[in-house]
């Protein structure tokens, strides 16, 4: 165990050190001729205009959120799937069964929630209600001023 950790430490030291050595050698060897035009923003040869920052569509945020949730679940489920057969043959079979399939049920619940909300379709369906228990087709009465 300790020998393995020493190997890992050696690996970290060498890779980190190599990175620094390469960067240092590049810095000493390469020519350096900075200039105003050279460091200006690249816009295919044109003079750059306008800001470089813009707003991303919030759909990407939703997609990323859903991805993170399911990716983590899959990453945790894969090792279990490998050893499940062995566990089911052993003494703790009931516990393993309940644990794994409870976990699977939780994943299904997440999927059902996201699906029901309409977050899985790229173009949001505007006729459906979001969250809430109000059935589709019933429009809230406008406030009378």
């Amino acid at each position: 165990m300790s020998f393995d950790l020493a190997t890992v430490l050696g690996f970290v030291v060498v890779s980190g050190g190599l990175l620094w050595v390469l960067l240092l050698v590049s810095r000493l060897v390469r020519p350096s001729a900075p200039g105003a035009v050279k460091e200006s923003a690249y816009e295919c040869g044109e003079l750059p205009f306008g800001p470089a920052w813009f707003n991303f569509n919030s759909r990407f945020y939703v997609v990323a959120l859903v991805f993170v949730a399911f990716d983590v679940q899959v990453a945790l489920a894969i090792p279990v799937a490998v050893v499940l057969r062995g566990l089911l043959a052993g003494p703790d079979a009931g516990f393993a069964f309940a644990g794994f399939f409870g976990y699977l049920g939780l994943m299904m619940l997440t999927l059902a929630y996201v699906w029901r909300r309409g977050d899985l379709s790229w173009v949001r369906d505007m006729t459906r209600p979001v969250g809430g228990s109000r059935p589709a087709g019933v429009v809230a009465k406008p406030e009378v001023a």
């Binding site: 060897v29 390469r30 020519p31 350096s32 001729a33 200039g35 035009v37 050279k38 200006s40 690249y42 295919c44 040869g45 044109e46 003079l47």
Partner: protein
């Protein structure tokens, strides 16, 4: 200055100066700017194509001038395009080279009498290799890139890096340029 290779039955060793080693790396990874204005650009694309494969020499195209070593002036250069070409050349990092490909980039080509055509790329950027042709065949462009390789071999890299080699004469200095565009 080349590396002297001494190949034995189970490998060998190479002897040379640090310049030679660095130039060996430079000449086998000559990245050209993905840029072309007219018909010569079609031949440039074919030079990267399967028959005259430039990639086997390590020459890949880069769309940004920051990562490019060579700019190939492929096509007619108009006055409107001149300032953009100059800006792209200025945005490339040293050490950089320019190939004038085809008649238009050499001297203005068949459109020499036109009011809108610059009579040669070397009125805008310093050119290292001139290729004749309208358009030059892909093999000719490959020869031009190999001439740049030979130029890289001959250059003492550290002299250039330390500034002892003077930069090439600027044909279009900033003081001569009128407006910004």
């Amino acid at each position: 200055m080349e590396l002297q290779f001494d190949r034995g039955p189970e490998g060998g060793f190479a002897v040379g100066t640090l310049d030679a080693l660095i130039n060996l790396g430079r000449k086998h990874s000559e990245w050209y700017l993905l840029f072309g204005t007219a018909c010569c650009a079609i031949e440039l694309m074919q030079t990267g194509g399967p028959r005259t494969d430039a990639d086997r020499f390590g020459m890949v195209f880069r769309p940004t001038p920051r990562q490019a070593d060579v700019m190939i002036l492929a096509g007619t250069i108009t006055y409107k395009m001149a300032s953009r070409i100059r800006r792209l050349y200025d945005q490339m990092a040293e050490p950089k080279y320019v190939i004038a490909m085809g008649s238009c980039a050499n001297v203005g080509g068949p459109f020499y009498d036109s009011y809108a055509v610059v009579k040669g790329g070397d009125l805008i950027v310093p050119v290292d290799v001139y290729l004749a042709g309208c358009p030059p065949r892909p093999e000719a462009l490959l020869e031009g890139l190999m001439l740049i390789q030979q130029k890289m071999e001959r250059e003492p890299f550290f002299a250039k890096a330390s500034g002892k080699l003077p930069p090439p004469a600027d044909p279009w200095p900033a003081s001569a340029r009128g407006g910004a565009v």
